[in-house]
């Protein structure tokens, strides 16, 4: 029941928003809706942990099945495992903060909030669905509002970016159609084909079939996970998107890729994954190091963050391809960690931009003096990004590296070390930005009188920071919760 509520509440909120009278009501409705959603997510976590504590070891909890298209054996199958619960938590936190980060959207606010919430609905639906068809439906539902959100409320060459982003992501999802249909028609569950992930997990697909559909599915999800060389939508898209959209997109939407790769591509076609992982490992390790090195030469804050997201999300896929529980656990942790901190980053960039009206790093400087609160938050986000212990990034990265190191052969070693070297590069670009953006002398006279952070901005950033710190300091519960679910996927 609670899972259905997780979809229904955003839908209702979006509808209610469309009928709101004025800006104030719109914002209040959105905020209330998403607060309820956040509460519900925590309640789900509580229920989940309680069930697990009471010894329930079903791979998927709170499962529900509604027959939908019996003729094609399509069912509205929902249920959650530890990974989904974690991702739902992430999503509800990010959308909650996203609402507050876009508190000052002025024109067409109703449409803005409604689209944003619809996008979130897609993401929630994606994470709770167990049926590939339903999953795919929600996947596309999450992608499409992006076009309008960037196109209408974006900045810069927004139309171009929005189009590029949408088309590339849809091209990815087009591959997914091929992938999931291939899986569907090669499955045989009691004489019929099936879209149900749980039923499909037990299928032994022939290796020939896997060789074709594993790459297709993996690339299909990989596009949204910024897999090299299909990542180029990300810099343009992020740089043009409005704040909350960047937050949600980099924070949550890019995670659909990793989640899908793990739970569909790899879980269903493990043999091909083993056989072909090397190709994608090379691509992802390129993503990791290439993204990081690419950042150094950027000067626009959003580009910096977009490329760094390429690097970090590359690490997610990289870890997944290591095909062991530890690395995959790290991947999920990294998704959450990156989701939180990149949302924080984009939120802060938006807040800074609204004050200084520039995103070029060297045009700003010394903001620490004039905007202490936001600057400190930026530093914390930066530290999380470069993997400071006590913040979430460290937990995730270390888990990935330890997991990746479980492969003793030369190829994996080399590629892992290449990936690890990104921590150095990350430090370089983070500190470079922090150094010239926040520290040093104040660049322009008018920056002396910037407006300090408002309550809603503080609420958004503090929420994210708290989440980052909690995961950074006490990661065991989360890690164990994810680990448990991985058993069912990878064993």
């Amino acid at each position: 029941m609670i899972l259905i509520a997780l979809i229904v509440i955003p839908v209702l909120t979006a509808l209610a928003v469309m009928f709101a009278r004025d800006a104030r009501q719109t914002k209040n409705l959105s905020a209330v809706g998403m607060s309820v959603q956040l509460t519900l997510s925590f309640y789900l976590l509580y229920l989940f942990l309680k069930e697990r504590a009471s010894g329930n070891t079903e791979p998927v909890l709170f499962g529900k099945r509604f027959e939908w298209y019996p003729g094609l054996n399509i069912n509205f199958d929902i249920g959650v495992d530890g990974i989904s619960v974690a991702m739902i938590l992430l999503t509800s936190i990010v959308i909650f903060t996203g609402i507050f980060a876009s508190w000052e959207v002025k024109d067409q606010f109703k449409e803005f909030f409604a689209s944003l919430i619809i996008l979130a609905t897609g993401v929630f639906g994606f994470f709770i669905s167990l049926d590939l068809f339903v999953m795919f439906l929600f996947f596309e539902l999450a992608v499409i509002p992006m076009y309008l959100l960037i196109g209408i409320w974006g900045s810069g060459k927004k139309e171009y970016s929005a189009m590029k982003l949408t088309l590339m992501l849809m091209a990815g999802s087009a591959l997914l159609v091929v992938g999931i249909l291939g899986i569907y028609f090669h499955s045989d569950v009691n004489g019929t084909h099936s879209f149900n992930i749980l039923e499909l997990t037990n299928q032994n697909f022939s290796i020939e079939m896997q060789r074709i559909f594993f790459p297709i599915t993996f690339i299909g999800f990989g596009v949204i996970g910024a897999l090299f060389p299909f990542h180029t939508w990300s810099p343009d898209g992020h740089s043009s998107a409005p704040t909350a959209v960047s937050m949600l997109h980099a924070g949550v939407l890019m995670k659909l890729g990793g989640y899908g790769c793990l739970k569909v591509a790899i879980a269903l076609m493990p043999e091909a994954a083993h056989e072909l992982s090397w190709i994608f490992l090379i691509l992802t390790s390129i993503s990791v190091i290439y993204g990081a090195l690419g950042v150094i030469a950027q000067s626009d804050l959003k580009y910096i963050n977009a490329y760094s997201s390429v690097s970090h999300c590359g690490l997610v896929l990289f870890a997944i391809l290591m095909l062991n529980k530890t690395a995959s656990n790290g991947a999920v942790l990294q998704m959450i960690s990156h989701g939180l901190m990149t949302a924080l980053f984009f939120g802060l960039i938006g807040m800074l931009y609204s004050r200084t009206h520039t995103r070029i790093v060297h045009e700003m400087g010394g903001l620490m003096k004039v905007l202490p609160f936001l600057s400190v938050c930026y530093v914390i986000a930066g530290l999380a990004s470069l993997g400071l212990p006590g913040l979430s990034g460290f937990v995730a990265e270390m888990t990935i590296f330890v997991g990746a190191f479980q492969h003793p052969d030369m190829f994996h070693r080399v590629i892992t070390i290449v990936a690890i070297s990104s921590i150095v590069v990350t430090a370089v670009y983070i500190l470079r930005v922090v150094g010239s953006l926040l520290m040093g002398p104040i660049k322009k006279e008018e920056y002396q009188h910037l407006e300090p952070a408002k309550w809603h901005e503080k609420l958004a950033t503090v929420t994210l920071i708290i989440a980052i710190v909690i995961i950074g300091i006490a990661p065991l519960w989360l890690s164990d919760m994810i680990m448990e679910s991985l058993g069912a996927i990878l064993d």
């Binding site: 590029k164 088309l167 590339m168 060389p229 180029t232 939508w233 810099p235 343009d236 290439y290 090195l293 690419g294 950042v295 150094i296 030469a297 950027q298 490329y307 529980k325 530890t326 656990n329 010394g366 620490m368 003096k369 202490p372 530290l383 470069l386 993997g387 400071l388 212990p389 006590g390 460290f394 270390m398 888990t399 590296f401 330890v402 997991g403 190191f405 479980q406 003793p408 892992t416 070390i417 690890i420 070297s421 921590i423 150095v424 430090a427 370089v428 500190l431 470079r432 150094g435 010239s436 926040l438 520290m439 040093g440 002398p441 104040i442 990661p475 065991l476 890690s479 164990d480 680990m483």
Partner: protein, 631 residues
């Protein structure tokens, strides 16, 4: 002994309170809060040391506290705990004591600074991390606190964040150590893969079965274990500013002077030494090659830094190079040490670490006191300060004597042990160590004479003696520097936790005194009064002098690698490649589609007959193909 947790928790609490309340907290309260916390921690640390060393007979490893923090696999997990053994207890004492001194001193030194609360927050964070580092029960916990230490160092170096130099220095420090940590991390991963644990108790047990596998398999002709340890040492070298990862330390002097005293002289920079000491059994039993590397790097840095120190004019930079040099001693001692009965080097190294912490902290505090008085770091702008700052003068002199190795001050004893240990190993190392001892005496007294004697400089404001609150820690440290040498260190700290009996090697001792005295005398001759001699020598050694003064152009080399190679030859091309090749390809698919669309528009000519023609040819074509297919 679970109260030990408090030693770590108190500074952390201070950090949290100061950090979160920041602007809402009055300066005085914040300062005293942090100082009080570290004071209590110091008392507890001393108490712990006392109970550990004097109340139990054998120095076992005690783990009074441990929780699981993160599980990687069924066997591989990170615990957060506290490990008490001789070196960690010793380190606890050193860190809390020096911290306490510095906290106290800073109350005066930083008085009236705008970021006073922030300063104490960071300082508390540092103490917390450093303490966590030394009591780590496993390699990964150590690594975590290692990183935290790095970041607090970053924050403190960049304390004056509106000064571009400070920002650059902070960045440099962090990135260089981060690079070293990259090696450290790979080393940890490599080691843990084979041993399947991070736990020191297991890793440092030389009989662990995994080591035979690791020494068995090799990569590029060097055993995997040696690789792992060398990589771990790389981390240590970065943090301890060993050549060639040393370039951050001189720049780190941009931070407030008390910070330099605490972090960049007494505690953090010796973390590398601590790390090697922690892993010493493995080094010693299974990877002598790695230990040789430690010795070599130590010896090289020792001499290298001392040479540079002779040519510098910034008081803090001289001290920084001297720190590098002294840490080189410690590394060298570890590198030449054996295990158990042959563990003189180990004990010597730890002993030197201990004494060095006091006198080097004292030197920095003294330097701070001077800088505070005349607002300059340049020794050329100083002179005859003994008139204005008598107390500072005395304590500074004590510290100089201690570092120069003049009995009965602390440095003499520890350095003497190191020299003795090197003598047991290799004559070359001994020669380097002994020569540098003289060099040390020379450059320290060059500094001393230039600052406190020499000519009378005209000061803008008349220099004044520092306030009481700054003098107290200096005096306490001076006492420590004077008497610490008499501690029978071998009884407490040794490579195998068994008391080690150490006899003073009289010849070595005499030699070292002579060398040190020579150094001091030369300095006296050159710098006691204004004299043209140094200039002359500098101009005869023109090229060499310049190279040394420019720190052998290592910074420029790094700059070349980072700016020219990484930025211009890698990053920029990548950024270009991404936009102009990959992205352009994606755009190309779109423009190509549009282009094709424009090309074929003639198909739709508007001519009805043309349409019919295509219709008919289509039909005929399909018919032909299909008949051909199915005939």
């Amino acid at each position: 002994m679970s109260y030990v947790v408090l030693i770590i928790a108190l500074p952390f609490a201070a950090f949290l309170i100061n950090g979160l309340l920041n602007r809402k907290l009055p300066h005085r309260l914040a300062g005293w809060l942090a100082t009080g916390a570290i004071g209590v921690a110091t008392a507890l640390a001393w108490f712990t040391a006392f109970t550990y060393f004097f109340q139990s007979t054998s120095f076992e490893k005690i783990i009074p506290f441990q929780v699981t923090w993160l599980r990687f696999t069924e066997t591989l997990q990170i615990d957060m705990g506290i490990l008490l053994d001789p070196i960690s207890v010793m380190m606890l004492v050193v860190i809390t004591t020096v911290s306490f001194m510095v906290f106290l001193y800073s109350l005066g030194y930083m008085h009236g600074e705008k970021g006073f609360v922030r300063y104490y927050a960071f300082l508390s964070l540092f103490s917390f991390s450093m303490l966590g580092l030394v009591v780590a029960t496993n390699l990964f916990q150590l690594y975590m606190f290692w990183e935290l230490v790095g970041v607090s160092s970053y924050l403190l170096i960049g304390y004056y964040y509106d000064k571009p130099e400070a920002v650059a220095a902070a960045k440099k420090a962090f990135i260089i150590t981060r690079f070293a940590d990259f090696g450290f991390l790979v080393g940890i991963l490599l080691l843990s893969y084979y041993t399947d644990t991070f736990d020191f108790a297991a890793i440092t047990n030389p009989n662990h079965s995994a080591f035979t596998t690791m020494t068995g398999s090799s990569f590029l002709g060097i055993s995997v274990l040696t690789w792992a340890l060398m990589l771990i040492f790389m981390g240590g070298a970065g943090k301890s500013a060993m050549f060639p990862l040393h370039i951050w330390l001189p720049d780190a002097m941009e931070g407030p002077t008390p910070v330099s005293a605490l972090i960049h002289a007494a505690t953090m920079v010796v973390a590398g030494v601590f790390l090697v000491a922690r892993m010493f059994p493995v080094f010693s039993f299974h990877a002598p090659e790695a230990l040789d590397a430690v010795a070599f790097i130590g010896a090289f840095t020792l001499l290298f830094a001392a040479i540079i120190a002779c040519t510098q004019t910034d008081i803090k930079r001289i001290l920084a190079f001297s720190t590098m040099s002294q840490i080189g001693y410690m590394m060298l001692a570890l590198g030449v040490s054996g295990y158990g009965e042959h563990g003189l080097g180990f004990t010597a190294s730890m002993f030197h670490l201990f004494t060095h912490a006091f006198f080097k902290a004292l030197l920095f505090l003294g330097a701070g006191s001077i800088i505070h008085a005349i607002h300059s770091n340049d020794i050329r702008e100083m002179g005859n300060l003994r008139r204005h700052q008598p107390v500072t003068h005395i304590v500074f002199l004590i510290a100089c004597l201690a570092i120069a190795g003049i009995p009965p001050f602390a440095g003499f004893f520890s350095k003497d042990e190191i020299l003795a240990a090197t003598l047991n190993s290799s004559l070359v190392y001994f020669a380097i160590a002994a020569f540098t001892a003289g060099l040390t005496a020379f450059y320290m007294f060059r500094l001393y004479f230039l600052v406190f004697w020499n000519r009378e400089t005209v000061y803008e404001h008349k220099p004044h003696e520092s306030s009481f609150i700054m003098l107290v820690p200096m005096i306490v440290s001076a006492v420590g520097s004077a008497v610490a040498g008499f501690i029978p260190f071998g009884k407490f700290v040794s490579s195998d936790s068994q008391p080690l009996h150490i006899e003073m090697n009289q010849t070595v001792a005499n030699l070292s005194i002579v060398v040190a005295a020579t150094g001091i005398l030369i300095a006296w001759a050159f710098y006691k009064n204004e004299s043209p001699l140094p200039e002359k020598i500098a101009s005869t050694l023109k090229g060499l002098y310049r190279i040394a003064q420019k720190k052998f152009y290592i910074d420029e080399l790094y700059l070349f690698i980072t700016k020219k190679i990484i930025f211009n030859l890698i990053s920029k091309p990548i950024a270009w490649f991404d936009r102009q090749v990959i992205d352009a390809f994606m755009d190309f698919t779109a423009t190509a589609t549009n282009k094709v669309s424009a090309e074929i528009k003639g198909l739709q000519s508007g001519q009805l007959q043309h349409y019919a023609y295509i219709f008919l040819s289509g039909v005929v074509l399909i018919v032909l193909i299909m008949i051909f297919n199915y005939a």
